[in-house]
């Protein structure tokens, strides 16, 4: 064991001191805003959402700290294993989840119901970071070396698409794209892939479920069908717009309290916030996320292992995509694809996924001076 790691382990106490408490403060503040919004969405009640979300945050915080303190080399070592385990869970959802459940996204582990596709976002980051960590700069430029990571992306994406969960599938591809990008894959390859994807649009279009097609179509002109498919987006825009600069006041949002907003506790929670706290509130929350991402970038740039750098950037990108897709969606910039707002939206797995992700980010920070050789040896 000892020969495997070149740098000595830090003691638990020292690691605790190394934990990036500033980042945890930002995460907690964000979650607190989320709890307040869930409390408001339930018309001023801890039931049914805010109370449970608080417990989940507590559990998530514990998980975060545990993940942060485990030696980064352990994660490096078992990255593929974790990825493989999550892949198995996705298959299990496909197999067992199909019995007795309409939507095949959940797997019931008795105590909690897991959504493996969410956890897979972190699993994919770990696996790709591990893979690119082992490639030299020259190898990254060679096409054959890209086959393995592409398969790593394709397997979970295909399984998630089959559920079908288009949003998460695209999410996985985007996270992978970010890691490929910072890992140094040549830009022209991205151009080729994007071009091919564009060409594939008509084919993919024909395989989409009609509700998915309809969502994209009404996205283009939601007001054409204000009582039907475009209703959600229109009502969301009305809520946002009527909030104005400083909002209608906490718990005063007419759109959310009179149920004009769809899924206000999950995907449209940002609308509740922007209606009640206005653009000021929206920008403040956006600011917290930006701070979170700045921490992510800084940690990535500060890390000495390539694995750590890629994990940090992958997690930061994950946070970014969550935030961007969700907010762009409720503001009518992109189709409603069903992506939660991290730490704010009600939902156990999404919360856990993000806390795990931040856990890895802090882990990279704690172990910023640890080095791992390309093949596994310490530098």
């Amino acid at each position: 064991m000892g020969t495997f790691f070149s740098t000595p382990r830090l003691s638990l106490g020292r690691k605790m001191l190394q934990i990036n408490w500033g980042l945890i403060l930002i995460v907690t503040a964000t979650a607190a805003i989320g709890l307040a919004m869930l409390y408001s969405a339930a018309n001023g009640s801890w039931n049914p959402w805010a109370g449970r979300q608080l417990i989940r945050f507590g559990v998530g915080l514990a998980v975060l700290i545990v993940i942060a303190l485990v030696d980064i080399r352990f994660w490096w070592r078992y990255a593929f294993l974790i990825y493989g385990a999550l892949l198995c869970l996705l298959v299990a959802v496909e197999v067992f989840g199909s019995v007795g459940m309409g939507a095949q996204r959940w797997i019931n582990l008795g105590v909690i119901r897991l959504q493996p596709s969410e956890l897979m976002k972190v699993g994919l980051v770990l696996a790709l970071a591990r893979y690119f960590h082992g490639l030299s700069t020259e190898d990254v430029g060679r096409i054959p070396y890209l086959i393995v990571p592409l398969i790593l992306v394709a397997l979970p994406t295909a399984l998630v698409l089959k559920q079908p969960d288009l949003g998460t599938a695209l999410f996985l591809i985007m996270i992978a794209g970010a890691i490929f990008f910072v890992a140094g894959v040549k830009l022209w390859k991205f151009v080729v892939v994007l071009g091919a994807a564009g060409a594939a649009v008509p084919i993919v279009w024909s395989t989409l479920r009609s509700y998915q097609q309809k969502r994209i179509l009404t996205f283009l002109d939601p007001e054409s069908d204000p009582l039907g498919a475009g209703y959600h987006i229109l009502q969301s825009k009305i809520a946002l717009g009527s909030g104005g600069m400083f909002g209608k006041g906490f718990m005063q949002g007419s759109q959310s309290h009179l149920n004009f907003l769809p899924e206000k506790q999950t995907d449209f929670i940002f609308t509740v916030l922007a209606e009640e706290l206005g653009m000021a509130g929206g920008l403040a929350l956006l600011g917290l996320y930006v701070l979170m991402m700045i921490y992510g970038f800084a940690i990535g740039l500060r890390a000495r292992t390539h694995f750590g750098r890629l994990v940090a950037l992958g997690i930061t990108s994950m946070v970014f995509f969550y935030v961007f897709i969700n907010i762009a969606m409720v503001m009518g910039l992109i189709p409603v694809v069903g992506v939660p707002l991290p730490l704010i939206s009600y939902g156990g797995t999404a919360m856990l996924t993000l806390m795990i992700g931040i856990g890895f980010l802090i882990n990279v920070y704690v172990h910023r001076d640890v080095t791992i050789s390309r093949t596994g040896g310490g530098a």
Binding site: G184, K237, I238, S242, S254, Q255, V323
Partner: protein, 625 residues
């Protein structure tokens, strides 16, 4: 060793690019936020309010209609309806089954309810049945625990406590039809009713009032969350009629002894209509709740025309009641005087045509007063020929005949007072002398309404002032009602005195045609004139054998009986006109009715005070409704 430095350099470059890209995208979000929440905020604020707020109209209570003493004759009654809220019911079919045990629900009703349940949102109350009897209401209330989702609601509906007695004066309210829609949002309220006839129609706008409104907050499903503001409407104004409720009821009861009749009693000085009755009537309450098409057809096809207000819209040949106009025309033209005498042999000859007097044995020598007293037709043939039809028509018009009186009732008729020009225009042929004779006894082309006859009688009685009838007294600013000043129509007092003397004789001289219908109470004596209007031509052959008596003929072919009168004979105050369709002779049928009405009116003297008079004298005491 691998060259980590180069890898880190490229990594750093890429991170910078990625960070830059993300920053641009997040700026895009902030920009969009600015667009929605600052630039377009007003638009979305309006939309949010529109989402949130529903404006509901509150129908104002309709004004009541009162009689001249302020006693209500059209009121708003609480109306109970049972409603169903589908979301509180587990199975609507089962509920309707249990309800059938209490109310009998027809299949048709059942279908309608189920259809509405499907169409409306779950929380919208659906009317199961309206206008519940009190018994049904209490049975439902008692069984309420077994009927979840059902509730009794109280609304207001129009009620006419005197039913048919006031039907033609009041009219009725009924559902708004497409033609009635004027833009008043009240008219678009489901279940709103407007005046469709009578006073209800003419004064509809005053009675209706102004709608209030209530702003309510609704959620996305349309459920009302709370009321934000409420502006009470303005209740409709009460309308005070000139009608005396007790007299009106008395008249209706009296007329109901005949098949089909109309009567008017009015104040000769100010035009207050105290009685305006047409029999048979209809029950206006049935129009409020909705009349079945079968009942409607029955009313429409009834030969006694219950839907028509015969007092203002029924046209009748005035018969001998027209003779005062003929006599006045002759006196005022200076062609004859009081002493002009005519010999009546029972008929007069014009060329080869015989014109009969109703007394086929003849009246002998008749002067003007005799001719009134005996209603001698031959005398009036003579003076009508002398004065000519156009001057008769001019006098009739002065007395208010042949044109609408302007009373506040829909459907009032003009009637016809023929002239040479009128016949040329209407029929295209020239006037025949024989027609002047017929006009002289109020037959032929002459058509008047009972109301016009009452106006004529009033003008004769009040000294020739152009009184017009009114159902509602105009209110002065201080709340007191104003009496109009009527202009003289231009008839000399001397001539009027002669006519009034003739009319007095009719009922107060033993041989007068209506002596049996006199009022013998001191100071209440009645003056009048009988009339009998033929509704068919008596053929020559029939006259040579035997003219059938009225009661021997089918109802439709019997003569109309008329009487006009005023009382008291000295300083007259009230005038009456009575028409009994196919009633036979005016003296036997119509005069007693007029007598009863004028006697009761004088006893009460409703014009005398604003307090409700003692009603001891009324033949049948009216029960209070």
């Amino acid at each position: 060793m691998y060259r980590d430095a180069t890898r880190f350099k490229r990594f750093t470059r890429r991170v910078a690019l990625l960070g830059g890209g993300k920053f641009v995208l997040l700026s895009l979000l902030a920009g969009r936020m600015y667009q929605l929440q600052v630039i377009e905020s007003d638009k979305y604020k309006t939309l949010a309010e529109e989402n949130r707020i529903n404006l509901r109209l509150l129908p104002p209570p309709r004004g009541r209609i009162l009689d001249r003493f302020g006693r209500p004759v059209a009121i708003n009654q609480e109306n109970y309806r049972v409603t169903l809220v589908a979301e509180q019911v587990s199975n609507v079919e089962d509920l309707l089954d249990s309800l059938s045990g209490i109310l009998s629900l027809s299949d048709h009703e059942r279908q309608r309810i189920l259809r509405e349940v499907r169409r409306r949102r779950d929380f919208v109350p659906i009317t199961v049945r309206e206008n519940l009897e009190w018994g049904d209401v209490s049975r439902i209330e008692v069984n309420a625990p077994d009927l979840p989702g059902l509730s009794i609601e109280v609304g207001q509906s129009r009620k006419y406590p005197y039913a048919s007695d006031f039907a033609h004066v009041l009219g009725y309210v009924s559902a708004v039809s497409e033609n009635d829609v004027t833009g008043d949002p009240l008219l678009e309220l489901p279940g709103f009713k407007i005046g469709k006839n009578g006073v209800e129609r003419v004064f509809d706008l005053s009675l209706r009032g102004k709608a209030g409104n209530s702003q309510v907050e609704v959620n996305a499903m349309g459920r009302v969350i709370r009321e934000l503001s409420r502006q009470e409407g303005q209740p409709g104004d009460d309308i005070k009629l000139t009608i005396d409720r007790d007299l009106q009821k008395l008249a209706a009861d009296r007329l109901k002894q005949e098949e089909s009749a109309a009567a008017v009693v009015m104040d000769v000085h100010n035009g207050d209509v105290l009685v305006l009755s047409s029999v048979p009537g209809f029950d206006p309450n049935r129009f409020v709740t909705g009349l079945s098409s079968r009942s409607w057809r029955e009313l429409l096809n009834d030969p006694r025309t219950p839907l028509i207000n015969k007092a203002a819209s029924g046209l009748y040949a005035p018969g001998s009641t027209f003779k005062m106009a003929v006599a006045l025309a002759a006196l005022e033209a200076g062609i004859v005087d009081q002493d002009h005498e005519v010999f009546c042999s029972g008929h007069t000859l014009l060329g080869n045509t015989k014109f009969h007097c109703w007394e086929k044995h003849g009246h002998g020598w008749q002067d003007m007063l005799d001719a009134h007293q005996n209603s001698c037709d031959v005398y009036f043939y003579d003076i009508a020929t002398r004065v000519g039809v156009d001057r008769i028509a001019a006098m009739a018009n002065k007395l208010g005949l042949g044109r609408k009186t302007g009373i506040a009732l829909p459907g009032e008729k003009n009637g016809t007072i023929p002239t040479r020009a009128w016949k040329k225009a209407a029929l295209g042929s020239s006037w025949q002398l024989g027609e002047t004779l017929i006009t002289g006894i109020g037959q032929g082309f002459v058509l008047t309404t009972p109301l016009q006859l009452a106006v004529m009688t009033s003008r004769l009685a009040n000294g020739g002032f152009a009184v017009t009838p009114r159902l509602v007294r105009p209110q002065l600013d201080d709340g007191r009602s104003a009496d109009p000043k009527f202009k003289p129509v231009g008839i000399s007092d001397r001539a009027l005195d002669i006519i009034r003397e003739g009319m007095t004789r009719v009922t107060n001289v033993q041989r007068g045609t209506a002596y049996s219908a006199r009022i013998s109470d001191k100071g209440m004596e009645m003056a009048g004139k009988t009339g009998t209007a033929q509704v068919r031509r008596i053929s020559k052959a029939e006259r040579e054998t035997r003219v059938l008596k009225n009661h021997e003929r089918p109802w439709k072919e019997r003569d109309h009986a008329l009487f006009v009168g005023y009382a008291p004979t000295k300083n007259p105050r009230y005038a009456a006109a009575v028409v009994v369709e196919h009633g036979g002779g005016g003296s036997k049928v119509a005069a007693p009715i007029a007598r009863d009405l004028l006697r009761a009116t004088q006893m009460r003297d409703p014009s005398g005070s604003d307090a409700v008079p003692n009603d001891e004298f009324l033949p049948s005491k009216s029960e209070e409704a």
